[in-house]
Each structure stands twice: as C-alpha cells, then as structure tokens.
Symmetry: C2
Subunit: 295 residues, 2 copies
DNA sequence: TAATAAGTTCGATATAACTGAACAATATGA
DNA sequence: TCATATTGTTCAGTTATATCGAACTTATTA
C-alpha cells in the first residue's frame, strides 16, 4: 500500500485550486514540495497522475479516477476518526434499540426526548420486532438493547436479561361482535368459527410459532401489534391482546374483553442488553427502563 | 486529518498477531517502532487506542471502532489503487452499456464473449432501456455506450452519435386474430376496437410519449420489447413491432403482418458514446458495433 | 525465584519530507 | 514582438521524523 491520505489531500487541493502553486498555498507548503509529493506518489503507484502539458498539468484518466475515489476515501477517513472520537467520549456512535410490538411505543418517546436533551451525539435507531425478533436482533448484534420480547431459552454469553413488565393478555372482540352475546365463560368451541388474528413472527431463523392461535382455525396474519389491534377493532377477527395497549379501547367500549376457558397467560416481557462494552447511551437507557419497571 | 493508512496497518497487524511484538515481526520493524507509531497516533487523535494492562495491551472501545472501520478503509484504499491502476492500463475499470429494447440482445452476446477473451479486467454492465432511456442514460453518465434508441433532439456536448440500423416497424397481430380476416389495407377505424400494446418509457425525466398508440384506444403498458412481443403473441393486443426482432415469428406464422393506412415509419437506431475520455473498452465496443452496421 | 517475553524509554541514525534559489516553459499584455 | 508575470521542475541543503538498538520495567511462566 503505497497510497497515503496526505498525498490524496494534495491531489485534491491541486484539482480544487487548479494549479500546483495554488495547492501549495492552501496547504502552507512550498511549490517544490507539491511537485515532490506528486512525483513520489506517481513513482510509488507506477503510473502517471498528471500529464505535463507545458507549464500546466492535467489529470490523466487514471489520475481522475484516483482523485475521484480518493476524495471519497478522505471523507470516509474523517468519518472513521469522528466515530472513534465519539466512542472515546464514552457515548456510542450508534445505538440500536429493538422494541417488541407488544410494547406501547408511546412509552418510549418521552425517553427519547429526554435522551436528545443530553446532546450525546449518539445516532439512535429504533426497530420494531415481533415475538422472537428482539431476541434474534440482540444475539445477531443488530440491536444493542431490546425492549419486550421473551427471555432466551438458554443463557446467552455476554447478554443480560431483566424482566420488566408482565403483559396481561385478554381475549377481546369488537363491540358489535356476535361473541359478545354468547354465554361466558366461552369455550374453545365457541371461538372456533371466528378468524384468529395472528402476528407474523419477525424472527427469520427461529422455528415458526403462531402466537395464541386457538387450535386449527382460520387465521389472518399481520405484521405488528398495532395492525392486530386495528384488525380486531374492525371486526376482522378475534384474539388475545395485551391489556396495557388496549386499555383506552376497553374503556371507550370499542373493544370488549371476554372470559374464556383457554389459558390466557401472563407473559413476562424482558429487557436485554450486552453486559460487555456498554457505552454511556446503552447504560443510560437500561437504567431508565429498569427504573420505569419499579413504577 | 492526523490519521494515516500506515498507522492503520500497524493497528491491524497488532490485533491480528495479538501483540506489539508480533506486529513488529510481520511488518519487518522493531518493537519500539510499533510503540512509537501507536503512541503518535493516540497523540494525534487525542484518545487512547490501547489500554495498557500489565505487559499486554487491549483495545479500548474507541480503538475497536477505529480498527474495525479502519480495516474497511484499508480495503477501500486498495480498491482505489486497483481501479486507478486498471484505468492507467488503458482499460476502463467499468463499462456501462445501455441497450434499447428494440435491439435483439442475441446480437450482443457474441460480442461480449469476444470481449471477455481479451482479459481486460473491465467490469461490463448491461442495462435495458426503452425509448428515451438510452439517451437519458448516457447524458446522465449512467452509461458509457448506448445501443439503439433515438438521436438527441439537439447535439449534446461530448457525446457522439452514429446511426446503426433502420428499424422497420410492422403492424402485426396474432395468427388467429379477428383482424387477419378484415380487408386490407386496414384503417385506423378497423384497429380502434382492439387493445394496443405499449412499451412504458424507461426515461424518468423526458415527457411521456406513448409509442405508436393509435389515437385514443385501450392500452396495455408493458416494460420491454420482449414483453410486448409476448403480449401480442398471446393475442392480448395489437401494435407495431420491429421486423428484425420478429422475423422468425412471421416465418412460422405465429404473428401476421398487416398493411395499415397509418404511417409505419422506419426509425433510425443510434449508437452513442462519449467522445472524451474514451478508454480501450469503449473504443473496442464502438468499433465493433459500427463494423456490424456495415454488414 | 530465575527465566522468558512483552512493552517502553531514550539516544543515535538513516530516511523522508520540506525549503529556497535557480531555471525552463508558457501564457499575458503593452 | 518582447518584456513580464506565472507556473512547474530541479537540486543542494535543511529539518523533521520514522526507525533502530540497547537498556530497562513489568508481568507471566517454568
């Protein structure tokens, strides 16, 4: 690797100022130094960068390519330094948060707003995952923190888990649904004729496990909890929904919770983060999230 | 920019060999030089890259980021040199050929095969365009050479055009189409009831001009000449097609050419290339294409 | 506890990067 | 047309710095 970033800045300056002399001036060097640098680079790379035509020098095709791509290299180099510098400040360059669809996104926005006040320079990325999705995201390093989702089947090296909330699932239907007039508690037989709304698992690798489908029944697969709530609101089907995401809909009567014989378990929702290499931002979010749990 | 590619190669070697001493060995330097380089880089960048723990040094988080992204920078730098070197050999690094859909792709494959024999190292990219598409592609530097398509309305700086073939358009229908029994020459009135197959213009900017649609008639828009031929073969509609692309279908009787009163003009197909900075590959292809014209 | 190995410090040295003056080539303009 | 400014190159001299080697510190290990 004979190429140096310094030589590229010289090339860049030459092209921008239109002459070796101009480049020398902006770089606080002497013209002969510029000549030296260019000649050395040409010698090292083994091809001509400038075609000397009289006193003026013009880029060869190869020189044009070198300059064009070299400029991208220079900005990339600056980005690398900036990223490393950001990390050295204790704040990560980037923080990826994977949030399970059972979580109420409304809860997270105030946290994000508060975080922005810190002017940390951290690029925060939020992704919404379903079921196994959060777990997979953090294991595959696509996420630094997960909010919601199941705990790992077996402990994972370097990842810490903490239970945050107990999602209480209710069997709900739209307000004008036929099942609202059926005698409660319902049996599985009662629910069988109606379409079951199922959230498609966003985990690509984990074995498919349809969520809370009641035996073999017609299903409508949707992509997120929000879509499932909407689908059930529209009367497209029935199914279990976490109480905390639909409380206002229950209060307004748009959705009705029915008792049913089928187990409607309380699922533990977990927060996960990497115990190694935790930057300030990850630490900040984990602290805040665990504090919210105590409320 | 205090960062140097040399320092990054040192970091890379340290991490790969697991020690300063190992890095020194593979780089044919003395251990103290490695220490010096690392300390200088840390000093220049203003943050610690290694945490000295006893006699062993481990990367700080910032150091990890620097190394990780620095490695990408190193391969990028090698790519830059490789590209420039390729161009300096006279062959372009890349050659983008935009081919109009009226062209028979079969004609181009032998040319590509012959070119590969040259072992030029040029990455050839073919794209298929419709109508204004080739013109737009070369003007916007997305293509270096175009095959087929219209000439420019006004001359374009730095781009040369040459007429290559005259595409002769025929009004054709499927063999069992009702129009085959109608008295010829057909009038526009005769054709009006039938769906017109129209190729969607792939040029995004140029004003939309539906190609050869006969007045206001039901249209089926397709994406390429191949699709249009298939659509007409299936009897989905009627329209003009270039003779050289359907000759075998006319011979076999699957398509039937009908005379019609509407003008069925002979359109000039043009080859275009940039007259400035023509590398060997572009020159080679242009020469071959213009030679084919004379056959 | 000695021996080994790794990393650092520091003075010396060789390499390279840079400077300034002189010069050649070309454009500018009176 | 010819002087004049401008540009790029050459080259000898200077400065800076990357590298080396030896001595030393600190851990690991035998």
């Amino acid at each position: 690797m004979k190429l140096t970033l310094d030589a590229l800045t010289v090339l860049d300056a030459i092209e921008r100022k239109g002459s070796f002399a101009g480049a020398a001036e902006v770089l606080f060097r002497v013209p002969s130094t510029v000549t030296y640098t260019v000649q050395k680079l040409e010698d090292d790379l083994g091809f001509a960068i400038f075609k000397r035509v009289g006193r003026r020098s013009v880029l060869t095709p190869a020189g044009q390519v070198l300059l064009e791509q070299g400029r991208q290299l220079l900005v990339a180099a600056q980005d690398v330094v900036a990223s490393a510098h950001q990390v050295s400040s204790g704040w990560e360059a980037e923080l990826n948060i994977a949030i399970d669809t059972v979580w109420d996104m409304q809860n997270i926005y105030p946290l994000l707003a508060e975080f922005q006040q810190l002017n940390s320079g951290v690029q925060v990325n939020i992704s919404e995952e379903v079921m196994g999705g959060t777990l997979e995201a953090i294991i595959e390093h696509r996420a630094d923190i997960t909010l919601g989702g199941p705990p790992p089947v077996s402990p994972v090296q370097g990842i810490q888990f903490e239970s945050i909330i107990n999602a209480q699932w209710l069997f709900v239907v739209a307000q004008d649904h036929p099942l609202t007039t059926a005698p409660q508690p319902l049996t599985e037989q009662d629910a069988r004729p109606y379409v079951s709304i199922v959230i498609r698992d966003s985990a690509t690798q984990s074995p498919i496990r349809p969520h809370r489908s009641l035996g073999e029944r017609p299903m409508l697969r949707v992509a997120s909890m929000e879509q499932k709530i909407q689908a059930q609101l529209q009367g497209l089907g029935v199914g279990f929904l976490p109480r905390h995401k639909i409380q206002h809909l229950l209060d307004s009567g748009q959705l009705v919770a029915l008792t049913i014989e089928i187990e409607a378990p309380v699922t533990q929702q977990y927060c996960a983060w990497r115990s190694t290499n935790t930057g300030r931002a990850a630490q900040w979010f984990v602290d805040k999230i665990l504090a919210m749990k105590d409320l």
